[in-house]
């Protein structure tokens, strides 16, 4: 393999490029990235960076001196792909032909429809989004956050820590209910309320009001919530539009993610996909599954590189259960596993009322997920146990 082109210059792209070198690829590596920035870390964008506790230089993912031997094409998007020819067309009019292609284009935040012309309405995915939101929050008093996924919940917590008046609107029974199940989400909802966030659950937003600039949010029941800043944390869609008609298969059930085998290989030889844009087959679940967490991209970059360099013959290790963390206020939330498979949840350590506890989700006797809240040491043990437990199939 001579030239490898990595499309997407963020976490998954950078780590796959690095893994390719680490695994002995000596040819060219070209990384194409739509954003003008060098690879940076996104998790702090809703936390310490938004709060102002760390700066832009602290977000860099590369070590000192950068990555040797990688050619960067930044500020340029891939606009199309001819998969059989492995030829990529670029937004600057150029093309790139490679022997191997890594698709690592991540996901883009969903925006609230009909708010395009309104100032003061934000979503949060990129450094530029975070800069704009940070500046707007500085001048704001009242914030409405729409969506209680982990970005919404984190932005609400950060805005509260900045002293703002915060309302969090969530359509489900509690923030994070979709990710960690309603029972434990209910416990964490109490945390937000105790810190002074107004929580409105089971509610749908029908409109962002205002002319020129947003001045509030209207709910389906007619309630109007006044706001200087509105943040939508309503999920993300894989950036796979540029693959339309390319021959690389996308999955409807996985939100348009790239369908991959359990090693990240697509149906086209010499093309792999990794990170938020990719839906890898998970034998433990018996289906394709898109993981939108940091650690998934990190672990799978190594596997995707091995798949590409071996021509698809490398046997990947069994996938580890998905792990994510979230920081809200001074609370460290850690989660591993598939809560949807559980029929019981028990608190095994600590007390939910004090926001320091560990809960285990089980299907019958078998642990399928673990939640740690300010229980870092104990969670680490459980995480190891979950990662090394024999994979359940069928």
């Amino acid at each position: 393999m001579n030239t490898v082109c990595v499309v997407g210059a963020s976490l998954a792209g950078l780590l796959t490029a690095r893994a390719l070198r680490g695994q002995g690829h000596e040819g060219r590596i070209v990384v194409v990235g739509e954003e003008p920035h060098r690879p940076y870390d996104r998790p702090p964008l809703s936390k310490d960076f938004l709060k102002g506790a760390i700066g832009e230089a602290d977000l860099a993912l590369e070590g000192e001196g950068g990555e040797p031997g990688i050619e960067w094409r930044l500020g340029v998007a891939a606009t199309g792909l001819d998969a059989p020819a492995r030829r990529i067309t670029l937004s600057d009019g150029g093309t790139l032909t490679a022997d191997g292609i890594v698709i690592a284009t991540g996901a883009a935040a969903r925006r609230l429809p009909g708010t395009g012309g309104l100032a003061g309405v934000h979503s949060l995915r990129t450094l530029d989004d975070a800069r704009a939101l940070r500046a707007d929050l500085r001048a704001a008093r009242r914030v409405v956050v729409i969506g209680g996924g982990f970005i919404g919940a984190e932005v609400a917590a950060t805005a509260r820590e900045l002293g703002l008046d915060v309302t969090l609107v969530e359509s489900g029974p509690a923030p994070l209910a979709g990710v960690i199940g309603p029972a434990m989400a209910g416990v964490l909802a109490g945390l937000h309320e105790r810190r002074g966030v107004r929580l409105i659950t089971g509610a749908y937003v029908t409109e962002v009001t205002g002319t020129g600039r947003a001045d509030g949010v209207r709910l389906a029941d007619g309630t109007h919530l006044p706001a200087d800043v509105v943040v939508a944390g309503i999920g993300a869609t894989p950036c796979t539009g540029w693959l339309a008609g390319s021959g690389v298969e996308l999955g409807r059930d996985v939100g348009g993610g790239v369908l991959c085998d359990e090693g990240g290989g697509t149906g086209v030889p010499g093309i792999v996909a990794v990170g938020d844009c990719a839906a890898w087959y998970d034998p433990a679940l018996g289906r394709h599954h898109r993981i939108e967490h940091w650690t998934g991209a990190r672990q799978r970059a190594t596997v995707a590189a091995a798949t590409l360099l071996s021509g698809g013959t490398a046997r990947p290790e069994p996938a580890r259960p998905p792990y994510f963390w979230s920081d809200q206020y001074d609370v460290k939330i850690q989660f591993i596993g598939h809560p949807g498979e559980a029929d019981t949840v028990t608190v095994e350590e600590g007390d939910p009322a004090t926001h320091s506890f560990l809960a285990v989700f089980r299907q019958g006797e078998r642990p399928v997920a673990v939640l740690g809240v300010n229980q870092v040491r104990l969670f680490t043990r459980w995480r190891r146990h979950m990662e090394t437990a024999p994979v359940h199939t069928g």
Partner: protein
């Protein structure tokens, strides 16, 4: 030299956190070696003594960067800078740490106590 603990109270595979400023973590590996490094991850405020010890490496409990206990070097992001290592002396079955003179690599936003 700071006395850390009697050797018997730090079994193999275990870690201990010394509440100095900045805190130091002492590890007893499965192979019987004892190492001391700064306890705070260089990425964020996590205690490496809470992490997962494997061979001569400690994996950070939050975001899984791994530090080599012998050199302090880190393998992959999110942490980018090494942790400081300290010399360990075992005398009369007591573990002592000789703190390094080098400046610590604290994570962004964190400073030593009593300093701005």
């Amino acid at each position: 030299m700071i006395p850390a603990c009697p050797l018997v109270s730090l079994p193999r595979g275990e870690a201990l956190r010394l509440d100095v400023d900045p805190p130091i973590a002492v590890f007893h590996t499965d192979d019987g070696e004892i190492y001391a490094i700064d306890d705070t991850c260089t990425h964020q405020d996590a205690s490496l003594a809470d992490g997962w010890l494997e061979g001569c490496e400690i994996e950070c409990p939050l975001h899984a960067s791994r530090f080599d206990l012998r050199t302090g070097e880190v393998d992959a992001p999110p942490a980018k800078r090494p942790v400081r290592t300290h010399r360990v002396v075992v005398e009369d079955d007591v573990v002592y740490v000789v703190p390094s003179d080098a400046p610590p690599n604290l994570p962004p936003g964190l400073t030593l106590k009593g300093r701005p």
